[in-house]
């Protein structure tokens, strides 16, 4: 009998501030609980557009937005993470998401995702810039040129588009979100611990 370990899917959007907090802590936490990770980049833009939003709800609702930035400062401090607000916000994470989708089953995905989030919210840099993304790939030892070419193909674009549809089908409406093997959905960096608990408790149900 094969012994398997529980797995959760981590759905993240590069423009999402709270996805940054999760991306920086999820690997160590999942490993300490014996839970495997599926990295699932997606885009909130089409999901927000479907409910009539053309930008981040943090921009549409100013009180919520200014609260979010203050809360993010507090959470980053608790996690000892650097924090810088990128301009513009939200950032266009389309290219980064395509790269993460292309890399997601390999060893470069996690370091790539972390490095992009660090550049964006740790240093306030513009992650829509292909040169920044190529430099990140080189830094982590990935074949930058091949990757940057591959992600312009229709098949990678299609895969990311399909991921957005899959997210919607799972009931996802924000990021970060976590989905366990039995389909249980958890939303928000604050729910990461509960998602991991659930994954362990219901594994093999």
């Amino acid at each position: 009998m094969a012994v398997t370990k529980p797995v959760i899917s981590f759905w993240f959007e590069f423009a999402s501030t709270y996805s940054y907090l999760t991306a920086m802590r999820i690997e160590a936490l999942a490993e300490s609980r014996g839970v495997g990770l599926k990295w699932r980049p997606f885009l909130l833009g089409p999901i927000f557009a479907a409910q009539g939003w053309t930008t981040s709800p943090f921009n549409i609702y100013p009180a919520k937005g200014s609260y979010m930035w203050r809360d993010l400062e507090r959470q980053a401090e608790l996690l000892s993470l650097p924090l810088a607000q990128p301009d513009p916000f939200p950032q266009n994470g389309l290219k980064a998401a395509r790269i993460a989708e292309y890399l997601r089953q390999g060893e470069w995905c996690a370091p790539f995702v972390r490095a992009v989030f660090h550049a964006e919210f740790g240093e306030g840099r513009d992650i829509s810039d292909p040169e920044l993304l190529a430099a990140v790939l080189i830094d982590i030892g990935a074949p930058a040129k091949d990757v940057m070419t591959a992600v312009e193909t229709q098949s990678v674009k299609d895969r990311l588009r399909e991921a957005v549809g899959e997210a919607q089908g799972l009931g996802i409406f924000g990021a970060p979100s976590f989905v366990t093997e039995d389909g249980e959905l958890f939303w928000g960096n604050d729910r990461l611990e509960q998602a991991l608990d659930w994954a362990v408790r219901h594994h093999g149900d």
Copy 2:
């Protein structure tokens, strides 16, 4: 020199599902941390209306709404609280909020608030019903008839209206919210522990 203890303001809305979770656990938790509580009923209706919403965002955005009910089930189970969905949702909590505002500096406020939330989300009852509210007042030993008369006066109505304005001035956009003595705002049942930590750490700053 007078020794004072830290205090937080607990801003709650009777229609708010997560305010229920907080109301049932805040007193014991605050007491264990040596933090005093100010109970601050308010209404989200006018705040939501100011941003163009005419009902709960959980009704406007169905994916978010169905997630919320599932998440609430999980959180209620973790806290060993009963859960029943009131119909209609959101409930009209105007009368209950006026009563809580009228009682808020006295000994009956906390038991009244808890009993109303229990009726609404523990039993699924309609808290806009004056008979239910009067019965709750009788149950907790308050002078029900006097209270029900007093809350129809203009001065109590005005006090609740002013509380809504005060909440907006503090940057509050949802419930539950917590505000410490130095004006730090925390939103959501998930932030109660951090709000209490902050209140203790920054007391007398």
